[in-house]
Symmetry: C2
Subunit: 511 residues, 2 copies
């Protein structure tokens, strides 16, 4: 047990001094006793559909959250909206602490990735949360929800859209504050809450929202809760994120589906043309072969190199867990994530399996995702791909080809570039909050977090720098094997409860 | 107008001698008067679902057909079944003609390709036949069904599964006979009817059925009605078909869908691996690069080369119609079809468009179709592809990979080979029926048909040679732009009515 004298002195926490326990131990005990209650609330929140195509669902989430925050003693709660738009509101709240001279804004998002319910395991549904004893695919059994006085198995998992990405983050932050309030532990910093509703859509309005509510959003630091903890199971503190952009590519074949016997090997097959095009973008070593793809990358600082060298090795564990023998690039996962990437998210052309028919398809579609690192500009990175497609002999168009375009071009590719894209962001490892937050996390979980120069995933964190001139730090809490962004998303209860403890500890930030 | 003295002499057709009209003109007039009735019957037939997954639907089709044939005066109608199986029956019928010394069996099939109703144009449904003034996609309007005394626009099209492939064939053959009967025109040959119910499933039981009912199926010639007429609009007489075989290829990635940010460019992406694999199978010139792919091809005879040289050029028309500028192989369509082909029927991996998510997919699937020409053996042709996949560094399995297989192999491809495959068949251009049937077609449509050494498409015609030692000839009737094997299948009314006339003329075959 570690003594945390500086915090104690600043907080007037006489009640537990007598017991010789740290505030973090108090919080842990309290969270433990409140498991049933915390899960009940979480379950209610998860049952509200939170996908972009359901605007009313997002509004319902925001309203539920605002009420929930008020019920937890957060007084100054507002829905920050963009006038004359239907943009899902930011749920904002504020707690002013007597004597505190610093302010931390805690960020999470309440919207989730699109769902295709038919792909979820039997018995699971994205918006009917269910509890399993472990990983569904490893034979876990369904468990009942518990009432007061009973404790959950910490390895159990809740399956639902948003369970880990990122309703767990929202709930952990609110309940961290609620725990402090219940335990009469006074935060050492002023606290603001900022819960976004458009993150999975690429946060197209975050910048406008920050601009509009700039005066409300002054702070010394943004702490972002999103993404998974380190695959080793250790907590992590993340100094940046990769940027993200997408292109949807459609290669066109004949105007109508053709019989593959009567026309097969005379008419060009768009699925084969697409395959060839995609194959031209990456070599067998996993290197993107698009001209200039790696040109703008800012090299790692020496502090970042040191931090990367300390990241625990998870490669053997991961290969085992994922059922893979080889990787696209050799070496460590986190080394690969320091580079921009190009990844196929999906392919579709006519039908396969029982939907397969003897046709030459009319078109073939690939959804391509690109991650960007510091130095990359998403517009430029998209253009490199477009130039590459042209260099492969394709005529590039941005809408369905006209008769005239069809007549005059041998190969046609329609490109739909994602306009809701953003660049990478990195906070310097020199930032003084790195050590202080790292210390608070250590006090909460009895070990130093892994410090990652960048997460592989993306968040539009650049806007905080751009609009508010604040470089954020990310503290993820979800288990790494949470299926976020896919069917069967889940969170391990251990991660959820520890998440509450961590944020409570950060709200008691020491110098 | 041509006089057809030999047929007249043999048929005792005094009724029209007095009017100076040929039997073919009489038939045409009669078909014209019966349009409403023929279409009514056809529409009823098309409304019965005829896909392989719906066994009851196929039985219903067979029963409907048997009743229909009886109603048209075909007396000896039977359902030929395979005992102790649920194989859709062959609907068989027979007409013995006094004095006739030859027998022709007419073949068509009543089953259709699989349907994905959601892909049909709005307003169309595979089993609710609808009539349009022309091609739907060219702005055709829906037309009413007509009653007695009204004539249809011959350019109108019926949209339904099986409209052209091959319920039109079935109906044309039955009604050809029905017209002769109504007009008291006596066929010059004995007629047998053979309507299969498993053609689109690759006719897996045709051989057994022919074996079992060998004694019923004696004939001098099989005339097959399936496939489209020549793209020039001319009738054609087809001497062979390509063989057909399929492989479904599944490339495996991680066991669970991974976040493309947190893992993208470390974990191998199965969609990219599949793209690379497919791209390795064909070069930019449209040549299949799989080792030995063209090795077993039997060269064309000089008669075949002559026939091909006479095939009207349709390449410019087709490019225009299909909205394509270039082709996979240079030169004439029919030259390309003399070679074995490899074609992608479909691709699927995770989702695209609104179903796209930021994932590394768990697998990527391609449905591959191969056409075979004389000399190719389908088992051998499949093996060439499998060997190629292995040569690209894949571990090939025939079922979902085990944990152990995942652990020990960098790249895994599951191959599901289609066992219901068959080889190509060709009837020699020396066969005496070629000229006789060609003449009957000329009498019906006032021009010589195109003679094609092989159709690009496939039918299991090899079994007629194998079991019954008879080489068939194919007489297609459907418009070439009929979308057979895809959504929005249709037949032009002109083709349907002329089909009836052609088969009636063949039933009046001259020496």
């Amino acid at each position: 047990m570690k003594k945390i004298v500086p915090i104690l002195l600043s907080c007037i926490l006489t009640s537990f001094l007598t017991h010789g326990q740290s505030p973090q131990e108090f919080i842990k005990k309290s969270v433990n006793e409140q498991q049933w209650n915390l899960i009940d609330d979480f379950k209610s929140f998860l049952a509200i559909p939170n996908v972009a195509v359901n605007a009313q669902g997002l509004q319902d989430n925001a309203q539920w959250l605002a009420n929930y925050m008020k019920s937890k003693g957060i007084e100054d709660v507002n829905l920050l909206t963009l006038p004359n738009t239907s943009v899902p509101p930011v749920v904002f709240g504020e707690v002013k602490v007597p004597g505190a001279t610093e302010t931390i804004i805690f960020y999470a998002h309440y919207d989730g990735q699109p769902v295709d319910t038919s792909k979820w395991y039997p018995g699971l549904h994205p918006f009917h949360p269910s509890l399993y004893s472990g990983m569904y695919e490893k034979g876990a059994i369904v468990l009942p929800w518990l009432s007061k006085g009973n404790n959950y198995d910490l390895n159990a998992r809740i399956y639902a859209r948003g369970a880990s990405d990122d309703k767990a983050g929202v709930m952990a932050i609110i309940n961290a504050y609620a725990q402090l309030k219940t335990l009469h532990l006074q935060p050492t910093v002023n606290i603001k809450f900022f819960f976004e509703g458009e993150e999975e859509a690429g946060s197209p309005n975050l910048e406008s929202l920050l601009e509009l509510y700039k005066n409300k959003l002054t702070s010394n630091m943004w702490v972002i809760c999103d993404g998974p903890v380190h695959q080793s199971g250790k907590k992590q503190l993340v100094m940046g994120v990769r940027g993200d952009t997408h292109l949807e590519l459609t290669v066109f074949g004949p105007k109508r589906p053709l019989h593959s016997g009567h026309y097969g090997n005379w008419v060009l097959n768009p699925a084969m043309e697409l395959a060839r095009l995609l194959a031209s973008m990456k070599n067998e070593k996993g290197e993107v072969t698009i001209k200039g793809f790696y040109d703008d990358v800012v090299p790692l600082s020496s502090l970042e190199k040191e931090a990367l060298a300390k990241v625990p090795s998870v490669e053997v564990q991961l290969k085992n867990e994922l059922g893979i023998n080889a990787t696209e690039r050799p070496g460590a996962l986190n080394d690969a994530l320091q580079l921009p990437s190009l990844n196929i998210n999906g392919l579709q052309s006519a039908g396969v399996g029982k939907f397969s028919a003897n046709v030459i398809p009319t078109k073939a579609i690939a959804s391509v995702d690109m991650r960007l690192v510091k130095g990359n500009d998403w517009v430029k990175q998209q253009q490199k791909v477009i130039d590459h497609i042209k260099a492969q002999g394709f005529y590039v168009t941005y809408k369905e080809p006209t008769e005239e375009e069809r007549k005059s071009n041998a190969k046609i590719c329609m490109v739909v570039p994602d306009k809701n894209s953003y660049n990478a962001q990195k906070t310097s490892l020199d930032n003084p909050y790195v050590k202080r937050i790292s210390k608070a996390m250590e006090l909460s979980s009895a070990e130093l977090p892994v410090i990652l120069p960048t997460l592989g995933g993306s968040l539009p964190l650049f806007v905080f720098e751009k609009v508010l001139n604040t470089s954020p730090i990310t503290v993820p809490i979800a288990n790494h094997d949470n299926n976020q962004h896919a069917e069967n998303e889940n969170i391990k209860l251990k991660n959820f409860f520890e998440g509450i403890q961590i944020f409570a500890s950060i709200m008691l930030l020491g110098k």
